[in-house]
Structures are given as C-alpha cells and as structure tokens.
Amino acid sequence: MSLALIAALPFLGALLPGLMIRAGRNACAMATGSVTALALIGLLLHAPAVVRGEVIQARFDWIPVLGLNANFFLDGLGLLFAGLILGIGLLIILYARFYLAKSDPMGQFYAYLLLFQGAMVGIVLSDNVLLLLIFWELTSLSSFLLIGYWKHLPEGRQGARMALAVTGMGGLAMIGGMLILGGIVGSYDLTVILQNKDAIQASPYYLPALILILLGCFTKSAQFPFHFWLPHAMAAPTPVSAYLHSATMVKAGLFLMARMWPVLSGTDAWFYIVATTGLITMVLGAVIALFKDDLKALLAFSTVSHLGFITMLLGFGTPVAAVVAVFHIINHATFKAALFMTAGIIDHEAHTRDIKRLGGLRHLMPVTFVIGSLAALSMAGIPPLNGFMSKEMMLEEAAHTGIAVGVFATLGALFSVAYSFRFIAHVFLGPKRDDYPAKPHDPGFGMWAAPALLVALVVLIGLMPNTMVGTLVATTSGAVIGGELPYYSLKLWHGVTPALFMSIAAVVGGFVLLKGHGGLQRAWNGAPRPEAKAIFDAFVDLCTRAARWVTDLAHDGAMTRYLGIFTVTAVVAGTAAFWGGTHGTGTRATLPMTPVAVVGTILIVVASIATAALHRNRFLSLVLISVNGLMISLGFVYLSAPDLALTQISVEVVTIMLLLLALNFLPKTTPRESSPSRRLRDMVVAGIGGLGVGGLIYAILTRDLGFTSISEFHLDQSKPGGGGTNVVNVILVDFRGYDTFGEIIVLGIAALVIYALTEALLSGPAGRRLRGWTPDFPRAGDRHPLMLVVATRVMMPMAVMVGVYIFLRGHNEPGGGFIAGLVVAIALLMQYMASGFAWAQARQKVQYHTMIAWGVLAAALTGIGAWFNSRPFLTSDFGYFRIPPMQEFELATAMLFDVGVFLTVVGAVMLALASLSRIARRAGEEAATEPMDIDPSAAADGGSMPQAVPANRTEEVR
C-alpha cells in the first residue's frame, strides 16, 4: 500500500464514525477500528523490506515553487513510530468503545481520534519538512479538540487552550527552524537534509535553526520549562490521555529529535541544551509525580519524567545512547499506555481517581491489580520487566557521561521507583475500604483486554528482548544513527556494573522514600511552589488586557485624530519622497499677474480663510463657501475653461441648496469645543498641508511638460474623429466616454443611496424624532411668496429652453448633457422652493427612479450599439443630415449618450431633493396643495384684491 495512502486513510476514515454512529456504538467502533487496522496492515506489508534496510518512498508534487511536496518515506524509525501509533491506536479504539458513556457523542470522538492518528502517521512518514510541519500543527489542532471534548468542563476548555498555545508556539518556532534548514541545504526534503550534516553544522545559522527546532520538540514533548501543559491536558477522556499524551503525540518531539539526530547532534550546543533539558525534566517530573494524588496527574508527570529520560539520552549524542533511547521509547509506550488504561478502569469503576480515597482494590479488582502492578513495576524498573533493561542501559550511559549526570539520573530513577511503588501500594494494597464512591469491581473483558495485551508485551520483552524487539531496535537505531550500529546487547544481566549499583540504590531509596511519604507529602504541600497554570493564565490574561487596552486606545473612534494622522502621513511621505529626488527649478515662462486676477485671488484667500474661521455660524459659512465657488468659476472663465465655469457654477448652486435644506434639520451653530492648543495644532497641520499642495502645483506650473501630452491627439481628432468642435465635450462623450459612463453611474448610485437612507430614517427612531420636530428658527409667515412663484413659473419654460439649447450646442460649444441637466434641475428646484414639494410633486409625472435607470440604460445601450457595428463599446458615429428647408445639421451617437447623462443628472438631483423634502414633511411642514398661500385668481371677483395686496405688502415689510 502506498505510504501516501497509509497517511491518508485515517483522514478519509474520519468521515466514517460520524455516519456509522447511526448504526450504533459498536458499528461506529468497528468502522473506526477497521480503518486503523487497514492502515496498520498496509504498513506492516512494508516491514520486511524496511528490515532488509530498504527505504520505501512515495512522492507527489504539491507546491514546487515553494519546495513543499507530498513526499513520504519509510525507514526503521518511521516504521517503529507508525507501528506504535496505529497499533496502540487500535487498542485505544477498542478501549474507548467501553470507556465512553452513552451520553458522550462517540462519533465525534472517533472522528477526532482518526484525524489525530492521520496527522501523527503523517509526521512520521513525511520526507518533506514543510509537509511534516503541516502534520505537526494538525496534531496540535486535533489534540485541542480532544482535550476540549467534554465541553462543559472548564478544565477541559482551559487545558485545551493551554495545550494549543504552548504546542502551537513550538510549532510556529519550528517553521522558522525548518525554513532556515531548508535554506542552508537548498531543499526541504528530509532525505536530502540528512545528507548534509557538515553543511548544516558549519552554517552560521545552525544555532538559531537548532534552537527553533528544539523549541518545537520540547513544547510537544513537554520538556521543562514547557512541561506544564501536559498535566492539564489530562482533563481529556482517559483514552485520549493514554493515546496522545503518553504513547504518541508527546513522542512526536522525541521522534523529530531522533529524526534530526544525524545532522543536528554531536555539537556542544546540542549536548548542553538537549541533555540538560532532558535531565532536569526527568528529575523534576519524577519528584512532582510522587506528590500527586490524582492517578492521572501522577501518570502525567511520570510521563514528563520519562520523556525527559529519553530526551537526555538523545542529548548525549552517542550512538549507544541513541539505541537505548529507541529501546525505552518502545518500553515506555507499552507500560505507560497500560497504566493509563488501568487508571481509566479504576476511575470508571470506583468513580474516583484520588489515591487518598482508594486502596485495597486488589481484593475487588484482581485482574486490574495484576495488570496495573506489572506495568507499574516495569515503570519502576524492576527486573525482569522491560523497563528495567532500558533503565539499566540509561544509567550506564549517564554514568559514562559524568558523575553529576549519573547522580541526577539515579535520583530520577529513585523517585520514579517511589511513585511507581506508591501507585501499587496506595491503590491496590492495604486494607479494603468501605467508603469508595462506587462499588468497584473488574470491568468486562472488552475494557481490560487492551491493557492486558500491553502488559503481556511488557513481560515478554523483559524475558526475551532479542526475539521480541531485537530486530526492531536494530532497524530503528540504524535509521536514527544513520550509520554503523554500535555494540550493545539487550539483556537483563550486564554483570556487576556501576549501573547495577545505581539501580539498586534507586530501588532501595525509592522504597525508603515511599515509607516516609506521608511526612514528605505534608512538607511538599506546605512548601511554596510556582503553579505553572496560574502563571500561564496570568500571562495570557495580561497579554489580552494589554492588547485590548492598546487597541482600544488607538482605535477609539476619534475620527478627527484619524484624519489628522492621514494628513500628516501624506505630507511627511510626500516631502520625504521629494527630498530623495533631483529637482530642477522650472523654466516655463509665467503669465503676467493682471489686477483682476490679483483681486480674484485675494477674494478666494479671504473667503476660504473666513469660511474656516467663522464656520461655527453655519449659514454664514455657507454664504462664504459659495463666494469661493463663484470666484473659482470666474477663474475658470478667465483661464479659458468655459465648460468648467458653467459646470462649477451650476453644481455650486445645487450643492448650496442641498446644504441649506439639510441645515434645516441640523444645529444652526457649531459649539466651540476644541481647546486653543488643539486649534493651533490643527492650524499648523492645515498650514503645512496647504503649503505642500501649493508648492507642488507651483512647481508643476512653472515647468514645461517633458513630453507631448496625449491631448494633442484629442485636439487633432476632435473634429474628424469625434465630429465636435468643443474638444472638452468630445473628450467627455467620446474619447473618454467610459469615464463619463462611470461618472453618471456614481450620480445614480448617490441618488439610490440617499433614497434608501431616507427610507431607513423615516422608519427608524429618526422618524419619531422628526414627528416631534419644532422649528428652531423663525420662518417666513408666507412660505410661498407670490413674486417667487410667478417668477419661477415664468422662468420654468425659459430654463427648459436654455437647457435644451445648452444640450444641443454642447458638442460644438461649451455646454453638454451634464450642464443642461443641472440647469433644468435647478429650474425644477425653483418650482419646489416656490410652491412647496407636495404641489410640484403632484404635477410631476415621471418617477425619478425611472429617470435615473433610463439615463444609465440609455448611456449603456448607446455604447453597446457600437457592437452591432462590430466596433468596441462606446464607439461613436455621426453624420450630417439635411431636412429641407432647414440647413444641414449634425447628429452624433454621442448625443444619445449625452441624453443618458442628462436624464441621470436630472433624476439624481431631484431624487435627492425629494428625499430631503420627505424628511421635511415628516417634520410637520404642512404640504401645500395650492401653488401659493394666497390665491391671486380670487382677484377675478373684485374686492378680494385689496386683501391680496396687503398680504403682499406684509411680505415686502418682512
């Protein structure tokens, strides 16, 4: 079976449990189990070849640009770990079937478990370090899910998050390490990397790479000082603890250290970092384990200790030590998994894991007793069990390494003897009690089968190591060392060696320690110790609060500051860019300053500054700003831009009208809020901004253009190509008609937005606010004065005429659809102003929505029309026609396009206004149905005139 398939199987299989659970818990477990079994068989089929020393490979390209490819390879090391993962996985699945309660969602559990299994197999089979990273992070994720499996338990949630944070951190650090490694070697393929020991260890980046990678390994394998997450991960269901947190996931770190051993080990850095960490972890874990009353906590810390044990061996960097490490990985997997399952059984039957509440169980649970004790004795390193052998060899290596190491190693062994004995003595031995939370008894076969099998292995490996695991150890060690196997022998009796004395000391000492346990426990509980979880939580909490503080401080919604920062950024960056480049002063001949121009400029300067200075009086500021607009349009006339002047002035009018109407419902004055210093600051910012812009344009104006502007073409082609003499208009509707198309759409959208907004307002709290609206300033008694009404009535047709005229001449002389639209719109606005909205509305047949839509459609369809001429969008066409007796005149499709512009403009302006006036009506302005408040038609029957006149006089008086 292809390696890729072996790795993929569990992932694919993860879909099964969710479905099969419908067929019952057994079916679900069976399905899950068969997936794992299938993968295991697939793996074992490769075993013979691997033992022969072959390396099986499977390669698929995934992201060649990155060098991340789905390459897998299987050698001894991979075989061992994959075997452990799938084999123990099978047992766990069996065990979990009976462990989980009916209420637990089993489908979910098995799905997560298979996800984890796949990730784990992926790690050990990857031949690409980036691929390995992917699986590595996946294990963190799946363990996050499994630890948090019992969602209602706070320990579960916190434990899960802690595990994710710590192992995730390690994983991320490892990304850096692996990338560096790949950079040194020039490939991310493990098989290549493993060939380049010298290149790697010679590189200046060796140390950072080493540290980053070790961070990953240490966090994953719960090495000091990252060991604290593991005990809290024990909130997970026991099968998870047995599988992830003792047999497999926590060994991923060891695996990677073993995998990288050939290229990373052998340096001082490696020795001091790895061996020391391992030693500390081993002793520390063992000591803490002795004082834990929760069975799972005890086992968790013993796991930490044994992981340290193996780490230390790998750290020694000698081939023999590596062999021992491999051997102990096997042994630890067997007895520790068995112990966790035992703990689970006890928890399951006695409904407690608290050692203080247990004892004397050997009478009630003989089977469990045998299993548990054998496993524990192996953990203690008592002959003839497998734990003894690996411990002996470890002590041997430690002794060779140095006295201090030897002493500490013995100390660790001593404590592990103590807590192992305690596990047996305080749980099984002693008198039977009568205060168990539940009536304990041996579970069904299904539950103790798995641990029993493991313990059988424990014994058998102990009795006949070579037959059982000889070849496995050899093959694996060969893969780890990547060279000649050193001399070693797996046997119980190594003769009288220092190791023998050390382990005797350990056993005796451990026994003594257990005797005095009671006193020690009190001392321990009394002694102040740093509580890792508390520290971690406090730290995360601190970070979170700091993050919130700084984030909310910077993003507190202070728009004024945001805009200030924006302005300053623009000015600073712009200036910096300027100073960086070469700047030649302009040589263009400047135009003379005419007195008119000077006066105009002064007016603009004064008006704009006044607008800023007097802005708190809002009406006044509107007047002042319109002075600016007026002056600018005059400026456009002066500087030969008649179209601009027309547009500017008409837009000006409409804008001011809009602002006036809006101001109707806004406060009429702005309170003086900002402090003098604040105002000064703003003035400085504004001043700099103004200087920058002014300087920029001056520099541009005073130099000649280094190239011929593309507008030369426009001037040349306007008449022959565009059929118009007003180049600006031809550019708008022809050369750059696409811009204009976008522009009218902007107008249309604006109108739609305003309409939608008004709707939302009228139906919201604003609507209620408006109903209770009281005008906050005196209104003219006569809201629709006769003069204005009459004037606008007369103006209306004229205005429309003007509009049409401007529209038609647009193509050849200043004018065009947009200006025409605005003129007509203004004329209509006047009607409304004069006679009130309702009256005009009643006489206005076209729907503004329709107008806008037609406008946009007309423009778009005109453009599309060109397609039928097999020309691109917006290609214009024009011709000269002659209808006798009239003189020849021109028609251009561009005019059709301009019609679209016209319609959109009128529609948009009017819809915006309509929305405003709807607000006005909601605010209680009674809708006038008559054109004016007093009815001149009454003049027909005499006498009424006199009343009318004073009405007007009163008007004039005001």
Binding site: L138, L141, T544, Y562, I565, F566, T569, E712, A756, W854
Partner: protein, 533 residues
C-alpha cells in the same frame, strides 16, 4: 475585439438599472436577477481566466480609440484572477444575503450590490489611471450604500466616518493624478510606465511625490497602518454579509499597488528606485502587528474579525513589498486565501449573532445557540484558515510569504513578526471560539436555561445561508488541495507582472496604426520603441 472583457463591467451596469426600473418593489424578482447575473459573472470570469492563462495580454479599446489616447481595458492573468475572485465571492455573498433575508432589511440592496460589482470589476480591468479613479469612486459610493444598509444609529455614524475617510483618500488620488499628468502628460498606465522611464532628471523629485501620494491612496484602500483607522468601525458595524463582500475591497488597494508599482514604478526606475518598497515594508509589518494584536484584544466577534482582516492585509503587503516574483506569488496566493477566509469568518459571525439574540457578538458566555455544533465547526474551520494553521490555505500562504522573504534585508524582522503574530491570533481566536461555543455548555450546565431559540420558521432560508457559508469555506480547502495548478498559474502571473513589456506592447501597439498626423513627436512615438529593448 473580444467584447467579453467588458462583460464583467457592463453586465452588472445593465442589471442594476433594470432592477431599479422594473422590479424595485418585488424582492423575489430582484433576487432572481441579482443571483442570475452574479452566476453569469462567475462563468464569464472563468472563461476570461482561461483565456488569460495563455499568457496573451488582451486589450479592449473603448470608443475604438487607440491607447494611450482613449481608455483601454486590459485582460492579463492578474486582472482575470482578481475579477474571478471578486465574482466568486459575490456569488457566495448574494446567496447568503438571500438566505438570511438581509436584502429585505433596507432598500435597493441588489441594485447597489450589482453596481458594487461593476465598480470592483472595472477597477481590476482598466488600463487607465484616471479611469481607475472613476471606478474607485463607483465601488466606493456603492459600498457606502451597502455599508449603511438597514440603517441604525451606530451604523450611520460609523458610515459617516467611512465616507469621510475615503473622501479624503479620493481627494488625495486626484492630487496624485494631477501631479502625474503634469509630469508625463498621459494617463494610460502603460504609457506612464514608458514615459516615467524616460523622465527628464529635473522632474524626478516631483514624480516621486506623485508616486508616493498614489501609494498612500492605495494604502488607504488596503488599510495599511497608520491610515487603516477607517476599517475596524466600518467592518464591525456594516451588515456582516456586506463586510464579507468588503473582504475584496482591501484587495483592490493591494491589487493597485501590485499593478502600479511593478509596471509604472518598478524598482529599477531611475527616478524612484526602491523608494516605495522601502516605505511599504515597515508599514506592512506594523499593520500585521496592529491587526493581530487587535484580534487578541477585541471585545466583540465582528471587531475581532475586522482586526484579523487588517492583520492579513499586513501579511499580504509584506509579500507585495518584496517586489520580487517569489514575493508576488506568495502575495497572490495569500490574497486569494485571505479574501475568502475573512468573508467566511464574517458570514459565520452573522450566523452566530443571528442566533445569540441579545448577546449578539459580545465575547461573553451565553447559552448555546441552535445548531451550536455545526456553527462551531464552521467557525473553527474559518478561524484556522484565517490564523494560518494547516491544512487550509492560510498555512501554505504564510509559508510562501516566509520563504519569499528569505533574502530580504529585514528577513529576521519579517519572520519574527509573521510567526509571533500568528501565535497571538491563534490564542485570540481560540479564546473567542471556546467562549462562544464551549463555555456556552457550561452556562446551560449552571442552569442557564436551554439553547436560545432562533425562530424555526427561518430554518429553510438558513439552509441557503449555511450552504453559502460552507461554499466560501470550501474554497480554502480547494486552494490548498489544488495548490499545484494554482501556484503554477500564479507563478506565470508573477512572471507576467515583473516583466511588463508584453503588457506595455499590447496596450501601445495602436500607436503605430494611429494616423501619422495625429502623432506629436517625442512623447507619442516614444511608446513605439518603448522600453521594449
């Protein structure tokens, strides 16, 4: 003349007014047409993507005027890709909107939505700098409408801020364009590239100013620190599906930077050199930090997602600021990914807030919501996508970025930033998730009452909403599953971007054909030889 290039712009531009004209009172009709149009757009952009993959740069000369005198649309790999992402995302969003009835909570949703698409597609396709401005305005004003859709005091006030800030940005855009035109006398991007390469030395300083102001304009759109301030309030207060669509808006800025500063101001330009990369990189790093720290610090779900958007933009711009083919590949891959990741998160957030009633998006424990497990799974997936954990595309994207940054001067800083901020984001998202979905069970356990009811009547529509969310999520899976062909395409795209000669030649070929008398001297026939040599 391949009229299909215009379709992504003209189709929504026709549908929107039709909706306003004929069906503004019938939401069902609107839905049908809006969805059909968006689906059509997806198909069209797929075809365009396929056409672009040949490597040929297609030019559409509007009004049949040759570039640089008229406006042209240009279809190359990059523009095709961006258009494709946009419309795919839009389809998901419009389906979600229909499923969750958001479009009935205010006026003109679908019309504005179509106009929005028109604006975005137009911005990606245009080859003319001023036209880019026009389409920026189209997409912005449509986005204003969508952002304040359904109103509400807070949303309107946030809307004012959004509009004002972007108005400031647009104004700066015009200043920049004025400067560029004043220096080069052209607006066509390809022509700009040609002329800037030959700029008189004395004009260089002013041109640099123009280029810098333009960069700031795009940086505003992309939400680059320190001009990102408009984003959090906008995204957190916009209707969630709209925020999901806005995931592409920041990318418009990123796209423009990529386009302009690889073609018009490439690092080998005499006048500007590496100026822009030097300014962009530190800002991008800062953006990543600000964003991810915000993820950890956010008090509400939407705000957290908003900051994760900022963070991802930062990472994206780090990749862009490298201005190397490798960096561009990474940038493009991460751009596609982060767009869908953010969108997915916003949709999930809406599903959550819809069901949590008075608790809304506050990150505090509340009774579990209807369909807790399913939505939790959706959130988990979207979250690991956003923080960049495997197996989703986020992890691959970050790997690509890290790998591309290998040779940059600031490599150590960049790596540390990306790696550390990822951790911060992981912690933040994990916290949010466990509060929202796990702690909930504790609340019930403490007798907090049963799960929150969420009106069974809207379950059928919710099915559609869920499907849409699921669809958007699955794009991230596809992105990593199909990484081989995708990165292959992106590799070619990056190559095309970093050697813009084909683009320039394709756009300016017309100059030779143009009537001789129409040609002035220097500037106009310069494109003929251009930088071709």
């Amino acid at each position: 003349m391949n009229h299909l290039i215009l379709a992504p712009v003209i189709l929504p531009a026709l549908i929107a007014p039709l909706i306003v004209l004929a069906m503004r009172f019938d939401v069902t009709l609107q839905r049908v047409f809006s969805t059909a149009a968006t689906a059509a757009l997806v198909i069209i952009s797929a075809v365009l993507l396929w056409q672009s993959s040949t490597g040929a740069v297609q030019v559409y000369e509007l009004g049949n005027w040759p570039a640089p005198f008229g406006i042209v649309l240009v279809l190359d790999r990059l523009s095709a890709l961006m258009v494709a992402i946009t419309n795919l995302l839009a389809l998901g969003v419009v389906l979600y909107v229909i499923g969750s009835n958001w479009d009935t909570r205010g006026w003109h949703f679908h019309a504005l939505f179509q106009f929005q698409l028109m604006g975005i597609n137009g911005a990606f396709l245009t080859g003319d700098a001023f036209n880019l401005f026009v389409f920026f305005e189209v997409l912005l004003i449509a986005s204003y409408g969508l952002m304040i859709h359904a109103g509400g005091a807070v949303r309107l006030r946030a809307g004012v801020q959004y509009v004002v800030f972007n108005l400031a940005g647009s104004t700066l855009f015009l200043f920049a364009l004025g400067t560029l035109y004043g220096m080069t006398g052209t607006l066509n991007m390809a022509d700009l590239a040609v002329r800037i390469a030959e700029l008189p030395e004395g004009d260089q300083a002013l041109l640099r100013v123009g280029g810098m102001l333009l960069l700031i304009v795009f940086a505003v759109k992309a939400a680059l620190v320190p001009i990102h301030f408009w984003l959090p309030n906008t995204y957190a207060n916009a209707p969630a599906p709209v925020a999901a669509l806005f995931a592409i808006m920041t990318k418009v800025g990123a796209y423009s930077i990529l386009r302009m500063y690889t073609m018009v101001f490439p690092p080998d330009t005499a006048a500007t050199g590496t100026l822009f990369g030097d300014w962009l990189m530190p800002a991008a790093v800062a953006t990543t930090i600000v964003g991810m720290v915000g993820v950890l610090g956010a008090a509400t779900l939407s705000r957290m997602i908003a900051f994760s958007v900022i963070g991802s933009v930062g990472t994206l711009l780090i990749a862009i600021a490298l201005f190397t083919p490798q960096g561009t590949i990474a940038a493009l891959y991460y751009m596609v990914h982060s767009t869908f990741a953010a969108a997915a998160l916003f949709l999930v957030a809406d599903l959550v807030q819809d069901r949590r009633g008075k608790w809304g998006g506050d990150l505090t424990a509340a009774p579990p919501i209807v369909g807790n497990g399913l939505i939790a799974a959706l959130f988990f997936t979207a979250a690991i996508g956003m923080v960049g954990m495997p197996p989703l595309s986020g992890f691959l994207g970050k790997l690509l970025v890290l790998d591309a940054a290998r040779d940059h001067g600031q490599m150590a800083l960049i790596w540390t930033t990306i790696i550390v901020t990822s951790l911060i984001a992981i912690v933040g998202m994990a916290r949010a998730g466990s509060v929202l979905f796990w702690k909930a069970h504790a609340v019930t356990a403490e007798g907090g009452g049963a799960t929150l009811a969420a009106g069974g009547d809207e379950v059928p529509q919710n099915a559609l909403a869920l499907t849409a969310t699921f669809g958007i999520l699955s794009t991230m899976v596809l992105l990593s599953a199909l990484a081989l062909p995708i990165t292959g395409f992106l590799e070619d795209t990056a190559a095309q971007l970093h050697d813009p000669q084909d683009y320039i030649r394709a756009v300016l070929h017309a100059v030779q054909d143009a009537p001789a008398d129409a040609l002035g001297d220097a500037g106009v026939d310069a494109p003929a030889e251009g930088r071709a040599d």
